[in-house]
């Protein structure tokens, strides 16, 4: 006899909605044609990450998750866009298309396959009683990590690469708020600091690369490799 499914509380349902939109934003970063679009999808994704943290922190009340939500909003939707806007105004607002190795429709299909893979990999770890939050957040978090890695592989430009990296970190955090909600707070604080340092350093590099090769198409930096000897 199958046990009756428990009624889902409204926080769980809303969290599932946030999860869906979070994943959609990860796809958006794969598909956006311009750097500006990538940034906007990244900001939206961070908002859904924060929303999920707030929702999961309501019942039962976990103040840790509120701190995660506030830190996410502060660093990823305010400081990083401001910092990049200050350092790389022209890069962000350029109107040309991002150069990529695989065209966008194919990319989206590959992305879909990665999401299926994420669900297949995590399914055995999530028995029916495992907690609704983990069932939503773990596969979506892993899927975002894989999508970020895929973006890094096909988009050989500085800014989309940065958003790929930040998207991967967000994906790991999205899974983390469900499976490890009571992590020590220091871990979250240093993690947020870390993301800021990352954005700053990539910004500095993007400027330096722009000075050297006149664009930020880092795929053109390909002089270092082994070649057959004479």
């Amino acid at each position: 006899m199958a046990p009756a499914l428990p009624a889902l509380s409204w926080t769980v349902s809303l969290n599932a909605l946030c999860g869906g939109l979070f994943l959609l934003c990860a796809f958006g970063m794969v598909a956006a044609r311009q750097v500006r679009g990538c940034l906007e999808f990244f900001i939206a994704q961070s908002v859904f990450l924060a929303a999920s943290a707030f929702l999961l922190g309501l019942q039962p009340f976990l103040w840790h998750l509120f701190v995660v939500g506030v830190l996410t909003v502060f660093t990823k939707t305010l400081v990083i866009p401001w910092l990049l806007g200050r350092m790389l105004h022209e890069e962000l607002h350029t109107r040309r298309e991002i150069d990529q190795q695989i065209n966008i429709p194919t990319s989206l299909l590959i992305g879909l396959a990665l999401v299926v893979l994420a669900y297949v990999l995590t399914a055995p770890l999530l028995p029916v009683g495992a907690g609704e939050a983990a069932r939503t957040n773990l596969p979506i978090g892993l899927a975002s990590v894989l999508l970020g890695a895929y973006t890094l592989a096909i988009r050989r430009e500085a800014m989309p690469s940065l958003f790929g990296l930040l998207g991967m970190e967000s994906g790991a955090l999205f899974a983390g708020i469900a499976i490890a909600p009571d992590m020590p707070l220091i871990a979250e604080l240093v993690g947020a600091f870390d993301v800021l340092v990352l954005a700053f350093i990539v910004g500095v590099f993007t400027r330096a690369i722009h000075r050297h090769i006149g664009s930020t198409d880092v795929g053109r930096l390909a002089s270092l490799k082994e070649e057959p000897g004479p």
């Binding site: 790929g164 490890a180 990352l198 990539v202 930096l221």
Partner: protein, 480 residues
């Protein structure tokens, strides 16, 4: 003395380096601070090997045998590389503010590397590992050429990507621990909870961390950045990157082995052995195609990391002893190789293997250092790498891993020829006049090379008893 000072001293030194002082100030401050850190790590190692527990902040900063060994190696290489930097930077056309930035960054990088073994909370360890990338990337790009930027860019993107994967792994590990009723998220707490962990979760966590931190430790398939970054950086930075940074990331993976070993029904020995052997195989293929002598030593690091991981996969206490010995001999020999490559670069002005011939005649110190370094790292007797590799092979054969051990022996032998053939041509070939003889070599560089050579030669023939005890204790940490 509290081990916390190991973290405080480089932080203070980094601040001092930021002050606008006259030229050798940065070098002097850095040398003094890394020397002080070396003294502190020796005192920590002495306490650990005498059987005392070393605790700076319970549950956060603690040191056991393996941590003490890593601290000791990081501080040793850090001190010699600081000495080498002094003369090396004086010979480069860098501006004063760039040199100040270099020394400030150097201290911070050293701080992040010392934090990895000293901290016991995996999430903060993850942050320290990520900071080792973020704080060393400016050092990799120090030459500010197109190639250096390319190397630094690949370094950031691939290792931070790996770190994000590892972060997910660490969160899954926390989840597994909590499900198993564990409360303290430290290496010891994980170990206590391990027998009750769900095997699937533990294995997923391990694989994510192996792939993620494997990128940073230079394991195949995410090793492609390593020869670039480890060859383009200034030589003293290469010594730190190749000698101790890769090992300190591998240390995090090694820390998981005894934990995961206690989880019922896992197959991690097979995973580590396979990844280790594949890394070695790919590295040996690359070694035969290399044209740049700094890349030669960098790729040899990929080979050594593969060997260490494979040794961990053999999984016996004898193999663990060989493994920690290998970590030590690799750190000293590889950093020596990069000092040798650094003075060879100063003496010839080129990194191209085919442009350098008969170095022993044009620059005797650079030629003999390169020869000694090549022999030491390729594993010729009586150097320490030979002894530690031999210990690993013997452990593999006694345990009946005949196939894996013969593959290891074959790959190490091939790597020996791949390393020694170009070194032999560079040192003894007929001079072809392509390389321009540079100015005289800086005294501090020669002093660093000399001190490192003493360590490399001495540890091949004699391991002092306290150090031997420390190695035994480090190996015991890895035992299940």
């Amino acid at each position: 003395m509290s081990p916390n000072w190991i973290l405080i001293v480089p932080a203070v030194a980094a601040l001092l380096c930021a002050l606008p002082l006259r030229a050798p100030a940065g070098a002097v401050i850095t040398l003094a601070s890394s020397g002080a850190v070396l003294a502190l790590t020796i005192s920590v190692a002495a306490q650990v090997q005498a059987g005392h527990t070393v605790v700076g902040l319970p549950g956060w900063i603690e040191a056991d045998g393996l941590s003490a060994l890593m601290l000791l190696l990081t501080a040793t290489v850090g001190t010699l590389a600081a000495l080498f930097s002094w003369g090396y930077l004086a010979h480069t056309p860098a501006r004063p503010w760039a040199v100040r930035g270099y020394y400030g960054n150097y201290n911070l990088f050293l701080l992040s590397m010392l934090a990895v073994p000293l901290i016991v909370e995996p999430n903060v360890v993850w942050t320290a590992v990520e900071l080792t990338t973020l704080l060393s990337v400016m050092l990799v790009a120090f030459d500010n050429t197109r190639e250096a930027l390319e190397a630094a860019w690949k370094y950031v993107v691939l290792t931070i990507m790996g770190a994000a994967i590892a972060l997910l792994g660490i969160l899954v590990l926390y989840w597994a621990m909590q499900q198993a009723g564990g409360t303290q998220f430290t290496w010891d707490g994980l170990r206590a909870a391990a027998p009750r962990m769900a095997p699937g979760r533990a294995e997923l966590a391990f694989l994510l961390i192996l792939v993620g931190f494997g990128a940073k430790a230079g394991l195949v398939p995410l090793h492609t950045w390593l020869p670039d970054a480890h060859s383009q950086a200034p030589s003293p930075v290469c010594a730190l990157l190749s000698g101790v940074e890769t090992s300190s990331v591998l240390y995090v993976i090694l820390r998981l082995l005894p934990i995961l070993h206690a989880v019922p029904g896992q197959r991690l020995e097979a995973w580590t052995l396979a990844v280790g052997l594949i890394s070695m195989g790919v590295a040996v293929l690359l070694l035969f195609r290399v044209r740049d002598y700094k890349r030669l030593f960098a790729i040899s690091t990929v080979e050594h990391m593969g060997l260490m991981l494979a040794a961990a996969g053999l999984g016996t206490s004898a193999a663990h002893f060989g493994l920690v010995w290998q970590i030590m001999s690799h750190a000293l020999a590889k950093s020596f190789c990069f000092y040798a490559a650094g003075i060879a670069l100063l003496a010839t002005g080129t990194r191209d293997i085919s442009a350098v011939r008969g170095l022993i005649r044009t620059s005797a110190p650079a030629g003999s250092a390169l020869l000694l370094g090549g022999l030491a790292i390729a594993g010729a007797p009586p150097f320490a790498v030979f002894l530690s590799e031999f210990a690993i092979f013997r452990a593999g054969l006694t345990e009946g891993h005949y196939l894996a051990t013969s593959l290891l022996i074959a790959l190490v032998a091939l790597a020996f020829f791949a390393i020694m053939a170009p070194i032999n041509r560079m040192v003894f070939g007929t001079p072809n006049g392509v390389a321009q003889p540079g100015p005289g070599l800086p005294r501090t560089c020669l002093a660093a090379v000399g001190l490192a050579a003493v360590l490399v030669v001495l540890l091949g023939v004699y391991v002092p008893a306290p150090l031997h005890t420390l190695l035994r204790m480090a190996a015991a940490v890895l035992a299940a």
